[in-house]
Amino acid sequence: MCAPGHSGMYEATVTITLKKGISDPEGANTLKALHLLGFTDVKTAHTIRTFDLLIDSTDKHKVEHDVEQMCQRLLTNPVIHHYAITVKEAP
């Protein structure tokens, strides 16, 4: 049963960052180019990857559990990645 006004869908956002000490050449090159363009106040640049998932479910706990599994089994490699998950009702 959906709560009144619930679309029956959840939006999950997975934000993936590199662990400390893992090189981020895209971030390093971006920083260099920003400095060349005159943005010399920029001290660090890190790249972050996000996945936006639209999930057909009315059970938020299951969605959170499933997305956690997706991170473990495909979206990240725990050797190099940290990840954060947010889940909200889709409008």
Partner: protein, 278 residues
């Protein structure tokens, strides 16, 4: 078993490469390899005649390339598709002593599958290693010198004398073998204790050297490792690209001499292992 009865499955999906050289290497040694698309093993989009079972083969090889566009991470999608239905048979295949070889992208697939390094469990749900971007942040394509350091555990290198150096080409952007940072030293110690380190990058004097001899910055100069049983082996350089001497860049200086290239012994070793064991 007879050489002609040894069936090797060279697994491919979109984006694999060097599968022809890999198949040729096994074929030239008298075995009966065949290309098998992952969908044939999963029973998707193929006829009954085309469908294959892992146990139709005595050896599996995952070749190089950029499988599924290297999306998400190199080898991650190949590994996920394989694990979706084949985790259990793959575990049984390995536990029965059947060998699995991963070269380049294949090595990346084996780590993403959780088959390497293979400590404690045959296949792990969550990977315990990663082949990450080269220190140079770019694709490195050049001949590399590999010192063979295995003492006999790895069934793919038993015909290669210990401490000998082989010239085998590398061509990859993600070849730096990483373990969880806090466990890196302990993992390398375990690899050494278990005789799982197979090849390490060296310079022409046979010494462990940095870039460009080590093309990716791998700790301990590691180029290839096997599981504790020695039957699952992953290496970044391409032995199928040095099956014959004339494939190596040195022959114009050193002469052809024998036709045997530096990578051939890897295929010979595993074929010898299979013919004696099964």
């Amino acid at each position: 078993m007879k050489l002609a009865d040894i069936r090797v499955g060279v697994i491919r999906i979109e984006g694999t490469n060097c599968e022809q050289e890999s198949l040729d290497a096994f074929q030239r040694l008298g075995t009966a390899p065949e290309f098998v698309h992952l969908k044939q093993l999963l029973g998707i989009d193929c006829t009954k005649e085309e469908t294959r079972n892992l146990f139709d083969y005595q050896c599996l090889m995952i070749p190089g390339g950029f499988s599924a566009g290297d999306y998400i991470r190199a080898g991650a999608i190949f590994a996920a598709r394989m694990k979706s239905q084949l985790a259990r048979p793959l575990r049984e295949f390995v536990e029965q002593g059947y060998p699995v070889l991963g070269v380049c992208n294949g090595f990346q697939v084996l780590t993403e599958l959780g088959l390497l390094p293979g400590f404690d469990e045959t296949i792990r749900n969550v990977p315990d290693a990663c082949l990450y971007l080269n220190d140079s942040s770019r694709f490195e394509c050049r001949p590399t010198l590999l010192k063979h350091e295995n003492s006999g555990t790895c069934v793919f290198t038993r015909k290669i004398p210990k401490d000998s150096v082989r010239l085998i080409p590398s061509a990859h952007a993600e070849g730096k073998l990483l373990f969880p940072q806090e466990k890196q030293d302990a993992y390398i110690k375990r690899l050494l204790e278990n005789d799982q380190i197979v090849f390490r990058y060296v310079d022409p004097d046979g010494k462990y050297a940095g870039y460009p001899w080590n093309p990716n910055g791998s700790p301990w100069n590691i180029a290839g490792i096997c599981n504790p049983a020695g039957t699952v082996f992953g290496m970044m350089p391409h032995p199928e690209r040095s099956f014959y001497v004339h494939q190596q860049p040195t022959w114009t200086r050193t002469g052809l001499g024998s036709e045997i290239g530096d990578g051939r012994a890897i295929f010979e070793s595993v074929v010898d292992y299979i013919s004696k064991k099964f």
